[in-house]
């Protein structure tokens, strides 16, 4: 009856991620998905006044990094990270590469480059 445990990790505290975003569930700026690439525009020490989680994002995005990786590093739901990223984007503390549109996503050269990479790496 009960589903296998793999998909049902113990419930995490629910209030905290929402509180972190002041209850918001969608970013104020930008559209992010799990593979949106994010890069901080400044080094971490200049981020006075940021919430700890936002400061952490700045620290972890000194090199280009995906939203999924940030969420894993910060141990936060991806949706929460996206809201925080929206704020950072509005403050110009990050730049981002928007997700590609749904269909015809990867061009032929990109697909060929991936094949080549998988064969030679």
């Amino acid at each position: 009856m009960q589903a296998p445990q793999e998909q049902w990790p113990d419930a995490v505290p629910v209030v905290r991620p929402y509180a972190m975003t002041s209850g918001r569930t969608t970013p104020a700026r930008g559209a992010f998905d799990l593979i949106s690439i994010v890069l901080a525009t400044r080094p971490p020490e200049r981020d006075d006044g940021l919430h700890p989680e936002s400061a952490q994002i700045i620290r972890h995005s000194q090199e280009p990094v995906s939203v999924a990786e940030l969420a894993a590093e910060l141990d936060l739901p991806a949706g929460t990270v996206m809201v925080l990223l929206g704020d950072l984007l509005a403050q110009r503390l990050i730049v981002t590469r928007s997700p590609t549109p749904a269909r015809g996503v990867a061009s032929r050269p990109v697909l060929e480059a991936v094949i080549h990479g998988l064969r030679t790496l």
Binding site: P4, A11, V15, P17, G23, I37, L39, V114
Partner: protein, 192 residues
Amino acid sequence: MDSVRSDAAPVVLPTAVKILIAGHFGVGKTTMVGAVSEIRPLRTEEMLTDAGIGVDDLSGVEAKTHTTVAMDFGRITISRDLVLYLFGTPGQDRFSFLWDELASGAIGAVVLADTRRLKESFACLDYFEERETPFVVAVNCFEGSDRFTTADVQLALNLDPGTPVLLCDARDRTSSRAVLVALLQHVLSLPV
């Protein structure tokens, strides 16, 4: 000089693409992600709540059902400008709306199958067929499972003849990479 990068500066962010590794519980999705990923598979969690709950209404929080769905993912850096992400899809039907988000923008999917439990692959196959997400079927050859030919599997799963079916060992990097290459070639072969 100020170290802030201005918006005008030519910041080149890599292109990110993704492939989904799908299949039923225990079929080896995370194993395959781990076999090809350059990083230990990471886990990201998404919180699911009943639709329409006012997030400001904390009074009822205890009574609501909240759950998290975990997705394991890995990364392969193809070049400085191109990164491939692999996402293991959460296994259950009820999370299909989460799949929508995952499937959106994906190059395609690998549907991992186990010949001892082929029927359990149907939900997954239906989903990608309906969405017209390109996929290949990779039969994870578990020890102790009967050997079937790819043609047997094609028939048993009632697959479109154009859908590639491969045998693989999800624990093996070379084998798993070959599956990814087969998917990419399949996508390239499709009419634009």
